[in-house]
């Protein structure tokens, strides 16, 4: 039984916002580039990057032809990546709202700056949160109970292809994730071998299908009553 997670408080109606967090080098930007490549044919997409090395990060997204430059927004967090996705989410909310107003994407990915295991996305900013771990950073990371690992809606353990080289035991990671996350899903991937991250792409597809179902039910229940758009519309 998946955990019930309320829709984020931002109340943007058409777009599903997914935060992607995790330590530096875990593969957040690579995962986003892969997801954009895998999903671009079926979904309208946009991305907010935090603390970007714009040259490198944007090029990574553009190189795969995954995204047009206009659909990528940059937010600087003043050396405080966690604050920007949680304590003071204003700049990210602003950038997200601007992209939604312009493109009305099905999926908006917000990549946090590189963080420790304590980073969580505010429900005021995103609908769901993905946390990315690096196998090469050791097999004890999942067991260290940071809220990033514990609370994420999906834990992605990346670089499984390196496990042997760094003497990391994937079973230890699997047990750590299970101990900390209960029934919440964890997927093991190698973005180097499978750049499109099919398991993560499927999770996103399921999320969007759920949203469509919820929206259809809500429309049926409302039976003609209308509500104004809430949340942080761009420029208001």
């Amino acid at each position: 039984m998946p955990r019930e997670v309320p829709q984020g408080a931002h109340q943007n109606r058409g777009t599903v916002r997914v935060g992607v967090g995790g330590p530096v080098g875990a593969g957040k930007t690579t995962l986003i580039a892969g997801l954009c490549s895998a999903l671009r044919a079926e979904l309208s997409l946009a991305v907010v990057l935090n603390d970007p090395d714009l040259q490198t990060d944007t090029d990574l997204l553009l190189r795969h032809g995954a995204l047009e430059p206009d659909r990528i927004a940059a937010v600087w967090t003043g050396c405080a990546p966690q604050a920007a996705i949680r304590d003071d989410l204003r700049a990210n909310a602003d950038a997200a709202a601007a992209l939604e107003a312009r493109f009305a994407p099905d999926l908006l990915l917000i990549e946090s700056g590189g963080t420790d295991l304590g980073a969580t996305f505010s429900r005021g900013l995103t609908d769901r949160a993905v946390f990315v771990l690096d196998v090469a950073a050791g097999d004890r990371t999942a067991h260290k109970a940071g809220p990033g690992v514990t609370n994420a809606d999906l834990l992605v353990v990346n670089k499984t292809d390196l496990a042997g080289a760094v003497h990391a035991d994937l079973d230890v990671l699997r047990r750590g994730a299970a101990a900390r996350r209960g029934e919440a899903p964890t997927v093991f991937v190698s973005l180097a071998e499978h750049p499109g991250a099919p398991a993560v792409a499927d999770w996103v597809r399921k999320l969007l299908a759920e949203r469509r179902l919820t929206a259809a039910t809500a429309i049926g229940a409302a039976a003609g009553s209308t509500t104004g758009p809430g949340g942080e519309a761009a420029g208001s």
Binding site: L54, D88, A93
Partner: protein, 234 residues
């Protein structure tokens, strides 16, 4: 006047987007102009007595204007004076980059404040410009709806002109946070003087409000390019 709304609005943890702005300090550090507590003191004093004075005067003027009886007519809130303040502040901000930053921060601040003090006045001020009002106008409006008098508004705005960059220095230079607190405390007298001058000026005509700029801050703001590697939004 209750002090509690003042303390809430002056709290640097108010989620108004300020934490990602260094007020030009990052550029000054990159240029080697600020590197220790003493050079930070000089930077903050310069900022306080230039843009700090202008910001505080506009914030106090906005608080004065918006708390002295708001006219809500059939066409909604009559914001002619607030619009004039916004225009005049625009004229005192020559750098397009700084104008953009100021409007973004004004927009962010109003959203944070609207949650605590919902008011038709804040909605009206938010609509002064498509990109949001300038930050001092937004702060003055926030102060007005929270019940602050212009003097308190001026003090909070003057202090805020240096606390953000001071905290940025802690992060960028690894300065001892206690040393940064000592620098801020040593500037308390000057903050009070600037706040008093700003509050006095706020009672005069809008077009005669202080117009003190800091050319180096404006120039360095313009030199920052989107593709440059940096950590702070300004």
């Amino acid at each position: 006047m209750s002090l509690i709304p003042l303390l809430l609005l002056a709290d640097s943890r108010l989620p108004g987007g300020m934490h990602a702005h260094s007020g030009g300090l990052e550029a000054a550090v990159a240029a080697g102009r600020v590197y220790d507590a003493e050079s930070l003191h000089a930077f903050l004093l310069g900022r306080l007595t230039s843009v700090g004075l202008t910001c505080a005067a506009f914030a106090a003027a906005a608080a004065l204007e918006l708390s002295s009886g708001v006219v809500v007519g059939e066409d909604g809130f009559q914001s002619r004076e607030a619009a004039a303040l916004d225009d005049e502040y625009d004229a005192r901000t020559p750098s397009p980059q700084q104008r953009e930053t100021s409007r973004a921060l004004g927009r962010h601040l109003l959203r944070a404040v609207r949650a605590g003090w919902p008011s038709v006045l804040l909605d009206a001020v938010a609509s002064l410009h498509p990109d949001g009002p300038h930050q001092p106008i937004a702060f003055g409006a926030a102060a007005a709806v929270a019940g602050l008098d212009p003097g308190a508004t001026s003090s909070a705005a003057a202090l805020a002109s240096i606390t953000g960059p001071a905290h940025a220095a802690t992060r960028l230079l690894g300065l001892d946070p206690d040393a940064v607190t000592a620098v801020l405390a040593s500037l308390a007298g000057q903050v009070e003087q600037v706040a008093a001058a700003a509050a006095k000026a706020a009672r005069g005509p809008v077009e005669e409000l202080p117009a003190v700029c800091a050319p180096l801050l404006s120039i360095s703001a313009e030199h920052r390019r989107a593709r440059e590697v940096r950590l702070f939004a300004s």
